[in-house]
Structure formats: C-alpha cells, structure tokens
C-alpha cells in the first residue's frame, strides 16, 4: 500500500523538520524527489541522506522565483506528480502591535506561494489525469491562536483555497488536501521553556507532542493512489488537542 514508485514529488520547506521528514517518507515509498527551501546546506545533506534528489533552493517570498520553481522541478524530475506545500514562516505578534510587514510576509510565503506553486504544477497534472497537492496547514488555522493572527489567517486561507481548487480539478484525477499538524516536536518547539511546555501538553489528550514522522505519514497517505477518493479534506494530526 501507498507505493509511490514512478511518481515525482516537489517538497517545499524541505530544510525544516516536518519538510525533511515528509521528503524522506515519500522517498521511502519510492517517489523521486525535488527538495526546495531557503537553506542550501541542509537541503544538500537531506538529498545525500535520501540518495538521489534534486536540490532547488527558492525564496518563497520572491514571486518570480516561485513562478520558476515548478518549471525547474519539472525539468529536474521529468514532471511533478505530487506537490507538498510545506514551507511556512511565523511572525508572531499581538494583533494590536502587528505591522503590515508582519502580516504581508506571512501571507506571501504561507498562502500566496501555495497558490502560485499549485497553479504552476496543475497543467502537467491535468494532462496526466493524475496529481496530488498536499498543503500543510495548521491546527491554528481552524482554532485561532493569540499572537498568530497572520499565521492563522494564512493557514485558514490555505484550507479555503484547497477546498475550492479541489472542486475545480476533481474530475481530472487531481486531489487537493491539507494536513493540519498540532504541536510537533521541532527546533521551534524545543525553544519552549518548561512552563510553556507543561501548559501546551495539558491541552493535548495524547499527553505528548507529535513527531514530524507522524505528519509525514499523513502526507504519504494523501499523496498515494489509495487516497484517490479523498479531496478537499483537512486531516488533523494533533493528538486530540482539537477535534474538528
């Protein structure tokens, strides 16, 4: 099950914790990978670990670079069957103090780039009558979170965009879904102090943070042939912290 032999996949934000785990999991199922991110060294290291993968550095706040990325990936892989929009940034700030720049940057990277990359890969997917777009949203896109109005808006936006696009392309064998992680142990959550950690864990019925591999497993499922009848959905992977 979930065999991806012969499929090609572009993963953004592959230099991060979740993106790296997603890339490894897809490669583990046999997919050929293109890894995108801003930091070249971790991308190269990940490519080495996977064995064979194209490394395509890209700044997702740069519109031209974003437009070019699907083409670069298609050239490197011979096409893009699976797109994983995983890259994301935060610029947390209380709403009353949030600057236009904090807002615009998060929306540009987390939402607008997802639209542009999806648009860029669709032509090939429609022609192939097969395609998978999996967008990494977040539990806060559904629940909201103080200090993250920009991030939550971008992640909620991704869900709405995915549902709309899913309806447009379903008849062509292309599915569009989201995975919404809860609290996942990464470098970002390692920085929390004990008190913050305790408070967070208190709200998670599973009593622990999730792992990047647990997100990757959800992505692999949605990218697989077996998930062909699942589209426009958001799969929450959060240890029960929000049941939606």
């Amino acid at each position: 099950m979930f065999d991806l032999t012969g499929k090609t996949a572009l993963v953004t934000g592959a230099s991060g914790g979740i993106g790296g785990a997603v890339a490894k999991a897809l490669a583990g199922q046999g997919a050929k990978l293109a890894l995108s991110g801003t930091r070249v060294a971790p991308l190269e290291a990940l490519a080495g670990e996977i064995g064979e993968a194209a490394v395509l550095p890209c700044d997702l706040s740069d519109a031209e670079a974003v437009e070019a990325l699907p083409k670069r990936a298609a050239e490197a892989l011979g096409g893009v069957d699976i797109l994983i929009n995983n890259a994301g940034v935060t610029r947390d700030q209380l709403f009353m103090r949030m600057s236009d720049e904090d807002w615009a940057r998060v929306i540009a990277v987390n939402l607008t780039s997802v639209m542009r990359l999806s648009r860029g890969v669709l032509r090939g997917m429609m022609k192939a009558r097969w395609g998978r777009i999996v967008n990494i949203s977040s539990v806060v896109g559904v629940t909201g979170n103080p200090g993250q109005a920009n991030y939550a808006a971008s992640k909620a936006g991704v869900i709405g965009m995915s549902k709309s696009l899913a309806q447009e392309v379903a008849s062509r064998g292309v599915t569009v879904n989201c995975v919404a992680p809860g609290f996942i142990a990464t470098a970002m959550t390692d920085a929390l102090n004990e008190e913050q950690r305790g408070r967070i864990l208190g709200g998670i019925p599973a009593g622990r943070m999730g792992s990047a591999e647990e997100i990757a497993a959800a992505v692999v499922y949605l990218a697989s042939a077996e998930a062909a009848y699942v589209t426009g959905q958001t799969l929450h992977v959060n240890g029960g912290m929000a049941m939606i």
Binding site: R123, M126, K127, E168, V169, S171, R172
Partner: protein, 77 residues
C-alpha cells in the same frame, strides 16, 4: 480544409470525445460539444502547445466555437 483547421479539429475531437461531424464552424464547445469550463481551459492549453503560441486569458474568452479557435490561431501563428 487548411492544415490548422485539421489540427484544431483533431484536438477537439480527441479532447471532448465527440464525433468529427459535429465539429462545425459554429459549434460551441460548451453548448454543442458538451464541454465544461475546465474543458475550455484545457482546450486552450492544448492549442497553445500544438501551435507554439500564447493565448492570453482575454483572447481565450472569445474562443467559444471551433470556428473561433481556427480563426484566432490562423491569425496568430
């Protein structure tokens, strides 16, 4: 029939799975040939590839019939 008309017809017949006899100059992709809006986008993409041309969105909107497509492509390729 010109070479362009022939090639356009082939794309329409293949893409919309319609009988060649139905693809007349005035045949509307949507009203007569059973296309949905996504089909028309795909047809335009197929024309762009076949003829190596760029069909801007506002021009694409004016291509409603087989005849429109042949006329536009003849004028722009």
């Amino acid at each position: 029939m010109s070479d362009i008309a022939e090639r356009v017809k082939k794309i329409v017949v293949e893409h919309l799975s319609v009988d060649e006899s139905k693809v007349t100059d005035n045949a509307s992709f949507i009203d007569d040939l059973g296309a949905d809006s996504l089909d028309t986008v795909e047809l335009v993409m197929a024309f762009e590839e076949e003829f190596g041309i760029e069909i801007p969105d506002d021009a694409a909107e004016t291509i409603q019939t087989y005849g429109d497509a042949v006329k536009f492509i003849t004028a722009n390729s």
